[in-house]
């Protein structure tokens, strides 16, 4: 299938670039589409990172008012965890780290006073295991211990991320549909304004495909120019947002990044937009031409 017209045929229509509203409408559509796609990709990346880094982690708290018993149970729990097949790593949270965690709420003296502070153990599970597997052994080793499963705690957040990811995908599809509609309307308008020329070309023996190629070439070039413009604007916004998010220094927000293939996918959107516009124009023109002899 010949997608682009040879030089001789290309001279059959006026070569006006960015003359109508279509390239600018496509630039706006592409701007929004790239932002939606970038959001979706970043959210997917964040969900993956969360699944990899946080979901396989649990915290064990030994809640016992008696400091000696608490310490004994914490040691027993740590020893049990070190032997347990579901555990990749278990590490006692030091008093200094606990003090730093409590300081914003209880002040610097929390660890030194009579306030019973639980002993904490950070556990990293091997893939395919969840924290519930530790419960029976832990109940024997440290009856005062309880398990905080990060995956369960993060479930509402990962659910939200997944929903936002699909929303972004839906927005990209809707934007692509709106772009197609713009192209169809533009092609119909061009057909109407060039009707006399099309009639002459038909009577001189031009085929539907020859005429359609003239329109699809013009529309593809306009769509590509608009797409590049929209992409440039959206990339600038994405980079700016990335700089701002990085400045927050949050582990959660910091996971909102784009992999190299994400950037490649965004860069490919104007090409995809151009191909979509080209085929929409081709289909529209051929469908219209079939209604005339």
């Amino acid at each position: 299938m010949k997608l682009f017209v040879p030089f001789a045929e290309s001279r059959l229509m006026p070569d006006t670039r960015l003359a109508g509203p279509m390239p600018w409408v496509i630039a706006i559509m592409m701007f929004l589409m790239v932002l939606a796609a970038a959001s979706g990709l970043a959210l997917a990346q964040a969900a993956r990172a969360m699944g990899g880094d946080l979901a396989h982690r649990a915290t064990i708290q030994v809640v016992e008012a008696n400091a000696d018993i608490r310490e004994a149970q914490a040691r027993a729990a740590l020893a049990m965890l070190a032997r347990h097949p579901a555990v990749a790593d278990a590490k006692r949270v030091t008093d200094a780290e606990i003090a730093a965690l409590l300081e914003p709420w209880l002040g610097g003296e929390a660890m030194g006073g009579d306030l019973p502070v639980p002993a904490l153990i950070d556990v990293t599970l091997r893939p395919g295991n969840d924290a519930d597997r530790l419960a029976p052994a832990l109940a024997k080793a440290a009856p005062a211990a309880r398990i905080d499963d990060h995956a369960q705690a993060l479930a509402p957040l990962t659910g939200l991320l997944a929903a936002l990811k699909w929303l972004a995908a839906a927005l990209v599809v809707l934007m692509a549909a709106a772009t197609t509609a713009v192209v169809v309307l533009t092609a119909r308008g061009a057909l109407t304004s060039h009707r006399a020329t099309i009639d002459v070309m038909h009577l001189l023996g031009a085929t539907d495909l020859q005429i359609a190629r003239l329109f699809q070439r013009r529309i593809a070039i306009d769509a590509f120019a608009g797409g590049l413009l929209g992409l440039a604007g959206a990339i600038a916004v994405v980079v700016l947002l990335g700089v701002r998010l990085a400045a927050l220094g949050s582990e959660l927000v910091g996971s909102l990044t784009l992999a190299w293939w994400g950037w490649a996918l965004l860069a490919a959107l104007p090409v995809a937009g151009m191909l979509l516009a080209m085929f929409a124009a081709r289909w529209t023109v051929i469908a219209a031409l079939r209604r005339i002899l």
């Binding site: 030089f7 001789a8 045929e9 001279r11 059959l12 006026p14 006399a196 020329t197 009639d199 002459v200 070309m201 038909h202 009577l203 001189l204 023996g205 031009a206 085929t207 020859q210 079939r290 002899l293």
Partner: protein, 235 residues
């Protein structure tokens, strides 16, 4: 048989109105020259539209170059149209193309390379006296000049059938004579020519032309010569 064009009981109706053309039957032998006359509204332009495949008939049979074009699939029509040259009454030049590009249009549509088409296009423009107007757009050309560009465009591809609707309506008698000479030369090379005109001088200028008269959508053929023409063109 052997006609390049054959109409058999052809009728043409636009929408639900009365028939514009009724019971049209004639055969045009290859290499003949025909002049179609008749009062305004007689159906001359409608008949020409059927000839240059802008319209299909409402009834009857039309054979062109030996093939039935009434039932022919739409996709095959462009190939037939390339064998027909048309001079439209309203010229129908492409407004954003130069005179050169307008004349070159049928060759470009047919896929002729720029290198191959340049010589014939310049020669044709010189023939119609527009060599120095090659780059001019139609809007800057006079009515007569536009008509000559339209004629050059119609004959550039050496068509097997040339259909012209009032081709000398906007040119002076001298240019009309040159154009008729061009048609005559083309006819001698084998092109079948059908010219619709009111110009009685034109009728007298082509001695071997056969007359076709349309009146109120019906063709007058009292001798039957149009239905059963001689196999060779009249001298």
């Amino acid at each position: 048989m052997g006609g390049i064009v054959q109409f058999d009981n052809v009728g043409l109706r636009y929408g639900t109105g009365a028939e514009t053309l009724s019971d049209i039957s004639f055969t045009l032998a290859p290499g003949t020259f025909h002049i179609l006359t008749g009062p305004s509204g007689a159906g001359k332009t409608s008949l020409l539209k059927l000839l240059y495949l802008a319209q299909r008939p409402s009834r009857g049979l039309i054979r062109l170059f030996g093939e039935d074009i009434v039932t022919m699939p739409r996709a095959r029509l462009p190939g037939f149209r390339r064998r027909i040259g048309v001079v439209f009454q309203d010229f129908r030049l492409v407004p954003y193309l130069s005179a050169y590009d307008n004349v070159a249009l049928p060759l470009r549509v047919a896929g002729v390379s720029e290198k191959e088409l340049d010589g014939p296009v310049r020669e044709m423009l010189a023939w119609v006296g527009l060599a120095n107007r090659a780059t001019a757009r139609p809007a800057t050309l006079s009515g007569g000049e536009q008509q000559r560009v339209a004629i050059a465009r119609a004959v550039i591809g050496r068509p097997e059938l040339l259909v012209a609707d009032e081709p000398t309506g906007n040119v002076d008698p001298e240019m009309a004579g040159r154009l008729i000479h061009l048609f005559d030369a083309l006819n001698k090379l084998g092109t079948t020519i059908v010219v619709a005109t009111h110009d009685i001088h034109l009728i007298g200028r082509v001695a071997h032309a056969q007359m076709m008269r349309l009146d109120r959508g019906r063709i007058a053929d009292p001798t039957g010569a149009l239905r059963h023409p001689p196999s060779r063109p009249a001298a």
